[in-house]
């Protein structure tokens, strides 16, 4: 009897240790978390990535295991992972991985503040807490620096557009009052012109754009396929709405930059890109510099 209890206890302890051991084969289905893994020095442990991963360039050589909607369970298991990073909404995958006793790290991504929180939590989970804390703290320092630079400046009413039918003003999608895009815009010193709409995004019709009258239109896209000529011609499309202040004053910006759509460790750079466009004068000098006044 005593022997059996001992064996059970030992087994439980071994299992628990295995669950919490430093993972050496990590499969990530979340591109933003993949970036975090590389940023905190866990590149060697990454055994597989999602089909949407493109950064850092080293991920190109890693096996692909599907993505948010189509995770390939068999392929994930075949990589013999000791940690799988999943989205909190991948309920089926989470159930199956649980049945297979594969440890998981569940990404619950919502706003800007969650990014550094996730980096710290990830660091503790993979036994790289110190490096993760450094990375998170440096992101927070940079964000604080940007916030300080734009503080006190007039915050332009901004429409952050992330989707539009090429060549026309149809099917325009804008960030609304909830989520990481909205937070980035506010951190960059803009006022979200759709901030009162408590959703991640909305379809911005021409009437709504004319009525809300944004001072700045910031259109963001993934970098692929955006030549300077195409950027210029797509910017010109906005002339179809001459009454919008952003169009009238020429403050329509089109940014083709992958950093802006990934809520990962490059987020401070992304916010800086937006802040420089919203407050060109705030970044002319060193910390807190205010050499030129914004228009």
């Amino acid at each position: 009897m005593k022997v059996r209890t001992c064996i059970t206890l030992i087994a439980v302890a071994v299992l628990a240790a295995a669950q919490n051991a430093k993972p050496s084969r990590i499969v990530s289905l979340v591109p933003a978390v993949t970036e975090m893994l590389y940023a905190i020095g866990a590149a060697g442990e990454v055994a597989g990535v999602s089909s949407y991963d493109s950064f850092p360039p080293e991920v190109a050589s890693k096996p692909r295991v599907g993505a948010l909607l189509d995770p390939d369970f068999e392929r994930i298991l075949s990589l013999k992972p000791d940690l799988v990073i999943v989205y909190s909404t991948q309920h089926d995958l989470i159930d199956r991985l649980e049945r297979a006793r594969v440890p998981m790290f569940v990404d619950e991504h919502a706003g800007l503040a969650d990014i550094t929180a996730t980096i710290r939590r990830l660091g503790r989970r993979i036994r790289r807490a110190e490096r993760a804390d450094q990375v998170a703290a440096s992101i927070e320092r940079e964000l604080a620096d940007i916030r300080r630079r734009v503080a006190g400046r007039p915050r332009p009413k901004t429409a952050l557009i992330f989707g539009r039918e090429p060549g026309s003003l149809r099917s325009i999608y804008a960030s609304a009052g909830v989520g990481f895009m909205h937070d980035m815009l506010e951190a960059a010193g803009g006022t979200d012109v759709f901030g009162d709409v408590m959703r991640q995004s909305l379809q911005a019709t021409t009437e709504v754009l004319l009525a809300r009258a944004p001072d700045v239109i910031l259109e963001v896209h993934a970098a692929e396929g955006w030549t300077p000529e195409r950027v210029a011609s797509e910017r010109d499309v906005w002339r179809g709405l001459p009454g919008v202040p952003a169009v009238k004053t020429g403050r329509v910006y089109l940014v083709a930059d992958d950093r802006i759509s990934v809520p990962g460790p490059r987020v401070a750079d992304a916010v800086r890109v937006l802040a420089r466009l919203l407050h060109p004068g705030a970044f002319d000098k060193g910390p807190g510099g205010t050499s030129t006044k914004p228009r």
Binding site: G167, R170, V197, T205, L241
Partner: protein, 331 residues
Amino acid sequence: MTSPLRRGAPAVLLCFVAMVAAVLAAPLIGSTPISFGRVFSRTIPFADNVDAQIFFIARLPRAVAAALVGGALAAAGVVFQGLLRNPLATPYTLGVSAGAALGAMIAITFGSALPMIGVAPASLAGAALAVGVVYMLARARHRGLSTTVLLLAGVTLNSFFSALILFVQYLAGPGDLFRALRWLMGDLDVASYEPIVAALPFVALAFAGFAWLARPLNLLSIGAEAAGARGVDVERAQRVAFFSASLATGAAVSVGGPIGFIGIIVPHLVRLVVGADHRLVLPASTFFGAAFLVGCDAVARIALAPLELPVGIVTAVIGGPFFLWMLLRRS
């Protein structure tokens, strides 16, 4: 003029008045209050006159696009129902909309790699492809068009294209996927007159066909043999019906996406009032379809403002129960 025509004429006129009234009234309402004094003011330059821009850029083209799409879909529905002799036929039965949707999905999904392909031209090309395939199939083993083969080919092509649509959507990134799904729900915020002007020649050509078809369709809907016995060139009438209705559908879908129910609800409703004579049903359905879609789009604009309610959902929510009620009432 025969007497049923004379009796139906006031209804057609009424539908026409409804269409004109709808197009004129729709720009007056919206999610933003605007001052009509400012809209038509001559002292404020247009570039600075936001009220006028809301009226002339955001609302008026939308109302006109809704009228064009609604009229084209309703008339195409009438013609397809007559051609196929099937009251359940819609403009989308023969795969035109599935082809158009496939074209649009490809343009949206690969838009960043191939920015030169517009969504509307791609959907028109997709519609043309579907029409061509269905026509060749229906002609392959028959003299003239076999309506049975047309139906079977259309239904088969519909499901084949739907599968291809799913495949293209599967390849799309999350942002494009959302835009692709949204396109399927219908959207009339055309933002300029360009899409309307681009579709106008196709719609005009289709309506020229419809005008010629009104009488032959009356006989055709009794049956091909009967129509032939009464001197209708059946093959030619079928061909004109098939191509003109497909053209109207393809053009309408390229402007507003595959908006449902218009092409089946409106013709039936109109038949309840004016009877089965296509010389009345066709114009009345066109006008009433236009008025109906302008109304639905006004609801779509206002119901959840500042959010946009997809117009295809409005037509389905209004159209579905209405259609059921009509079925119950008749039986």
